[in-house]
């Protein structure tokens, strides 16, 4: 119930109209991946989903942000059922980062089980909105481990203008959530190739519908 209410509030603040290039059908497991410019992003994708899909869709989010304070803890644990992962600082040794990443991916796969879909932001952190940053490898490994899930690109328009990085107060600009056509990792596709292709799927949505 809190979830439905929050979804309404998020839709109101963002004015976000969902646009479906290809409507989703059935209850397959899905990975929604989107560009990331604002704290609102996950809420907006989540609230744009049909209620039945929303109930089975969980965000993957940084523990450092969502485990802070009782409100965020409550929301991520009880309402969104967030899958919280550790984010290692960019300065840590690369071996340490690799281990942490593997642990996170395994944890995500385990939490997804055979039932849940997830929302991820493969840029890893929020950008200014001018450009979509190169994707982290996690999305590739995730798809390798879950080859039968649908991979759906989601372009978020104007979220950086509603609540940009570093601002606490939102401006009610009208946003948009564009859900693209499902894609998948091709057989024997190299990692870099797939990540570039996934990123350009978002850029294409931006050009055509942004």
């Amino acid at each position: 119930m809190i979830g439905a209410l929050l979804a309404k509030v998020a839709r109101m603040i963002s004015g976000a109209r969902p646009v479906w290039i290809k409507p989703i059908e059935g209850d397959a497991q899905r990975i929604f991946f989107a560009n990331h410019t604002s704290h609102l992003d996950f809420m907006v994708v989540w609230s744009a989903l049909p209620a039945s899909v929303r109930a089975k869709t969980r965000p993957v989010a940084g523990r450092d942000y969502w485990a802070k304070g009782p409100v965020r803890r409550f929301l991520s644990a009880k309402v969104f059922k967030g899958i919280l992962v550790e984010r290692t600082p960019a300065s840590s040794p690369s071996e340490e980062k690799r281990v942490a990443a593997r642990v996170s991916i395994e944890r995500i796969v385990e939490e997804m089980g055979t039932e849940y879909s997830i929302i991820v932001f493969p840029e890893g952190t929020r950008g200014s909105g001018d450009e979509i940053s190169p994707f982290k490898s996690g999305l590739y490994y995730l798809c390798k481990l879950k080859p039968d899930v649908q991979l759906i690109p989601v372009y978020l328009d104007n979220m950086n203008r509603i609540l940009p990085k570093g601002e606490a107060l939102p401006v009610p600009v009208l946003g948009r959530v564009v859900f693209g056509e499902p894609m998948e990792v091709r057989r024997n596709e190299p990692k870099e190739h797939f990540l570039a292709r996934a990123r350009s799927a978002l850029e294409q949505l931006r050009e055509e519908h942004g």
Binding site: G15, R17, S128, N158, N160, R161, P164, E167, L169, P170, V171, P172, V173, L174
Partner: protein
């Protein structure tokens, strides 16, 4: 207005004149809806069907808009203030969405939406004309420029600041003059100012609708082909003259004589046309057809009130200059 027969209608939330105006609009809408229904059953050609589907969508939206406006006017001052405040908010939202603002404008925009906008309507609520008339163009403009410059982004600074200021001017300042009609003090018209507001909105919207109708029927010669290809001289002249005639015909609900009412209605129509043209140029400039998608068949809020933006302040000030007595100083 005095009725030719004796009925006690004092229990109504409406003034009798207002009730007649609203009833008239509802009757016209009902006739329109019936015609729309008959057309949708009889027209078979593909192109014709699309036009009629759009007509019916517009009519459905009109029902909602007339009912909302009717309720707002019935609740007197506060209802109209809240309604127009809300309209300003949604219009500014559409305007800013299209405007190429940058992160450096974020704080200035926040103030525009959540401080300047409510303050403008609050000033009308407490009837402080002196500050209402200058708050946005003096304090607002200076504040917006200073707040943006403090953010330190000089890229397109002049264009960005002007854009935010113009958005405030059109969506908030201009629109707020419609409910501001309620604070005028016109001798012999006390407590009936809601009818002035109704008169303004009725004439401005009728002018739009009738220009559309005349344009569809006879339209040949384009007024401004580059700005708004749908506007024709035939539509403009037919629409303005017929809306002026209707405006003159409801003089009994205003403090004006029939001739004055015709003059006022004509002024409202011309300003409405100008507003629509300017807003069309802004849409062209930004490469869009409509400001939004909020009202089915009409586009966004701003597409529906574009003509009100310019008509409201001019109608307000002309009425105030010639009919208001609160602080007239004879030179």
């Amino acid at each position: 207005m005095t009725l030719p027969f004796e009925v006690d209608l004092s229990w109504l939330p409406f003034d009798v004149s207002l009730l007649l105006l609203l009833g008239g609009v509802l009757v016209v809408l009902a006739i329109g809806s019936i015609v729309g229904l008959i057309l949708s059953l009889h027209v078979k050609r593909e192109a014709g069907r699309a036009t009629i589907a759009n007509l019916n969508a517009r009519l459905r939206a009109w029902w909602v808009m007339v009912i909302v406006f009717g309720i707002a006017v019935a609740t007197g001052g506060i209802g109209s203030l809240v309604l127009f405040g809300f309209i300003s908010f949604l219009a500014l939202r559409e305007f800013v969405t299209l405007a190429p603002t940058r992160p450096g404008d974020h704080q200035a925009l926040f103030w525009s939406f959540f401080v300047l906008l409510p303050l403008q309507y609050y000033l009308i609520g407490i009837g402080w004309y002196g500050l209402f008339a200058i708050m946005i163009p003096v304090y607002g403009f200076i504040f917006i420029a200073v707040r943006s410059v403090l953010a330190g982004d000089i890229d397109h600074f002049m264009a960005r600041t002007s854009t935010v200021n113009w958005g405030l001017m059109v969506c908030v300042y201009c629109v707020s003059h419609a409910p501001a009609l309620l604070m005028l003090e016109i001798p012999g018209f006390k407590g009936q100012n809601a009818q002035l507001l109704f008169f303004l909105v009725l004439v401005v919207q009728l002018s739009d609708v009738l220009q559309y109708v005349w344009g569809k029927l006879l339209g040949r010669h384009k007024v401004a082909p580059l700005v708004s290809p749908n506007k024709t001289w035939e539509g403009l002249i037919g629409g303005v003259l017929s809306a002026t005639a209707i405006g003159a015909g409801v003089w009994w609900a205003t403090p004006f004589t029939p001739l004055q009412a015709a003059g006022m209605a004509f002024l409202i129509c011309v300003m409405g046309f100008s507003g629509g043209l300017v807003m069309a140029a802004i849409k062209r400039d930004r490469g869009v057809k409509d400001f939004g998608t909020m009202i089915e068949g009409h586009g966004g809020i701003l597409d529906r009130i574009d003509s009100l933006c310019f008509a409201a302040p001019i109608f307000f000030h002309v009425t105030r200059f010639f009919f208001d007595v609160s602080d007239q100083v004879v030179p």
